[in-house]
Symmetry: C2
DNA sequence: AGTTTAATCGGAGGCGCCTCCGTTTATCTG
DNA sequence: CAGATAAACGGAGGCGCCTCCGATTAAACT
């Protein structure tokens, strides 16, 4: 019988020291707010300052600006994924689907500042972003499938096609009635989806 | 009978003072060499230094890095356009066409360092580059048309399609046999062009 | 608790970007 | 040729990027 064995199992090699983890979390939190407010071009030194750490610490955790963007982005994409499950429980499948699409489009819209950087990232360093987008794709797929199985929408729709349609919606240029127009277009999509069930 | 009227007609509003024109030319010359050697990411301050002017002068002439790149790029594209006429005189139309395509692909290959910046430019600020590419398109078109009219190649080929084919050739990843492979592919294209005349 | 050690911190320093404005100079006018 | 003037020059200055390495400190060890 081993005496009170210390659980020294270091488990993952990704073990961070307590202070390191704290700093990292704080950086992500601050970065998320900064990106949302001023776009991805915000000064990284500002972010470090606001997080109360040195610039060196920021760069150790996130070697490039893109790494930081990716982490923030993924976090938010994940919450979008989680929203899918939540909406599924509270609403009929078709309503859940529509509401989720609205949120998706609205979410991307707020990140318009990101688009420049994102376009570069998505073409060059695709592996960094593949996972984040996988989340979203998965969410949409599950909503679509659920609604399809219960007979609320057609079942011959490809998830990728639908995402494509959504992306053409959120690339509508800025304008006062942006949101209304998007919602109308989503409504139109939904009509199409429900049409020939 | 007006007396010796001074030709004070300012003609173009783009009248540069002698020193300004000298500096501008020198900057373009130095920039062309620098871009070729170290890629478009070269320090602009270095370029100004090498041209023997202050950084302020560089920025007055070229408000952004892209403007400078565009000018250099266009100059070289123009020489590519000129080569088309020259080749047409010295060779049979089909040979001229093939040789020109080789040069085109070879030229872009040497500018691989540019590709990153270029991709951004070509998608975002298209108007800046439209003209430069127009030159090249025109050259290819004239070669293709000449060869077509004299019965050397098919006449149902679209210039844009052919350029597309070429661009897929020059985006072949780096490798020792890069040039050979490109030439083989161009040969293949030529076979296709000559096929069903 | 005290010591060791290895991970983490953080800011100084070097470089490039870009702007602003006092100084220089080409060109025009008398 | 001298003087006027508008155009052009050029570098200092402020900011951000990113790296490097001595100082700090959490966590493991005794």
């Amino acid at each position: 019988m081993a005496s009170a064995e210390p659980k020294t199992i270091p488990s993952a090699p990704t073990r961070l020291r307590a202070d390191a983890r704290r700093n990292r979390d704080k950086l992500v939190e601050v970065a998320a707010a900064a990106f949302a407010e001023k776009g991805v071009e915000t000064s990284l030194e500002d972010i470090a300052r606001q997080a109360g750490v040195g610039i060196g610490t920021l760069y150790r955790h996130f070697p490039t600006r893109e790494h930081l963007v990716e982490v923030v982005y993924r976090r938010e994409l994940e919450s979008l994924g989680a929203a899918a499950a939540e909406l599924s429980e509270k609403h009929p499948p078709d309503v859940a689907l529509e509401e989720w699409m609205r949120r998706f489009v609205g979410y991307i819209a707020t990140k318009r500042g990101m688009s420049n950087s994102l376009r570069i990232l998505m073409t060059s360093n695709s592996s960094l972003f593949a996972e984040g987008f996988g989340q979203v794709r998965g969410a949409l797929e599950s909503l679509l499938k659920a609604a399809g199985e219960k007979g609320y929408v057609r079942t011959d729709i490809d998830t990728a096609d639908l995402m494509h349609a959504l992306s053409s919606i959120y690339s509508i240029p800025e304008s006062p009635e942006w949101r209304d127009r998007s919602y109308r277009l989503i409504g139109l999509l939904m009509d199409g989806l429900r049409a020939a069930r």
